[in-house]
């Protein structure tokens, strides 16, 4: 019984404890390198995602309706490099967008800022939609009101319709 318990204990040790050879210097160096590579890869992926997120808000200056993220133009490539460099310097998304806005104006932003004249771009579609709904409501009311009114038909017309219906049977 005791032996069985001991063998189970040994099994646990084998499963959960690393062999002593694993702790030697080359193995530890390998493990550290592996961890650092994984960490660096994860950070790069994060940075790439941030570069993409910011670049897709910027308009490529030499393309037609294309974002800096989507464009392969030289200028766009360099703009993505600038975004990456500024992120590495610790600048925020707002600061990076402001850097490009200072040089190219609001034009550089694919989504117009919600202020001043640009507000029209946001307000006009909503206003047009609301006006459309009001007009539709008004027309619908008029149509339903017209359909509810009784149709005035004289006896001669009514008789002619009935005869036509009889003939068609």
């Amino acid at each position: 019984m005791k032996q069985e318990a001991r063998s189970k204990e040994q099994e646990k040790v084998m499963v959960f404890n690393l062999p002593s050879s694993f702790l030697n210097l080359p193995s530890r160096a390998l493990l550290t390198l592996l961890l650092l590579t994984t960490l660096s890869y994860a950070l790069t992926q994060d940075l790439d995602r941030e570069v993409f997120n910011i670049s897709r808000q910027l308009r490529c200056p030499v393309c037609v309706a294309e974002s800096v993220a989507d464009s392969g133009a030289e200028v766009s490539v360099e703009m993505r490099n600038i975004v990456q460099a500024q992120l590495e310097e610790g600048k925020s998304e707002a600061e990076i967008l402001a850097y490009f806005q200072a040089r190219y104006g609001d034009w550089i932003l694919l989504e117009p800022p919600k202020r001043g004249f640009h507000l029209l771009v946001w307000i006009l579609p909503l206003a047009a939609g609301l006006i459309g709904l009001v007009v539709l409501g008004f027309l619908f009311k008029r149509w339903t009101r017209a359909s509810r009114q009784p149709i005035e038909v004289d006896d001669a017309d009514l008789r002619r319709v009935r005869e036509a219906l009889e003939q068609s049977r």
Binding site: P61, V62, A73, E74, V75, E78, M79, N81, I82, Q101, A102, R103, Y104, G105, W107
Partner: protein, 179 residues
């Protein structure tokens, strides 16, 4: 009758809008710079060999603070740049004692041989630098080439011209810088 009139009015308005779009000219020429009245960024870029005896291996714009400057962005693949190059050279020769001209080859990565050919074709005597990664053109908010920046002696941007620049525009803007 009223219905016909309202249809005619809507069609006339759409035709009017269409004609306005067609006749208002190229919107590219109207692109202003967000840096007008502001101090333009300085830059230091490598020079083509033929200018190195006068200026050294690189050109630093800050070394010429206090002097009016004309900065022209060009590329070897750009047709309108070939159109304006003789006019730039002729105007530079006329005003070289008063105004500094700088040509910046940009959006033209790795095209040094083509850049050299461009310079030699028009015998450009004003310094021309290489903005290989287009970083300076981004710093200046350049959309496309050619674009020409007229800079006051205090470093503030006086005017930006988009597209090929003519002798008339060059002279008008240089005279304004010198006033």
């Amino acid at each position: 009758m009223t219905r016909v009139l309202s249809v005619v009015a809507v069609v006339a308005a759409l035709v009017g809008l269409f004609l306005f779009g067609l006749l208002r000219g190229s919107p590219d020429r109207d692109i202003s710079s967000n840096m007008l009245g502001k101090v333009v960024p300085s830059f230091e870029l490598p020079l083509y060999e033929r200018y190195q005896t006068s200026y050294g291996p690189s050109f630093n714009l800050a070394d010429f603070d206090g002097q009016p400057r004309v900065v022209n962005f060009w590329a070897s693949w750009c047709g309108p740049c070939y159109e304006e190059a003789p006019e730039l050279e002729a105007t530079y020769r006329a005003y070289q004692d008063d105004v500094l001209f700088i040509g910046v080859q940009t959006q033209d990565k790795g095209k040094l041989a083509e850049g050299r050919d461009f310079i030699n074709q028009f015998d450009l005597t004003f310094p021309n630098v290489i903005d290989d990664n287009s970083a300076v053109s981004i710093d200046y908010g350049v959309f496309g080439v050619p674009e020409t920046f007229f800079i006051h002696a205090d470093g503030t941007l006086a005017y930006k011209h988009v597209g090929p620049v003519s002798t008339e525009v060059l002279e008008t803007q240089i005279k304004a810088l010198l006033q």
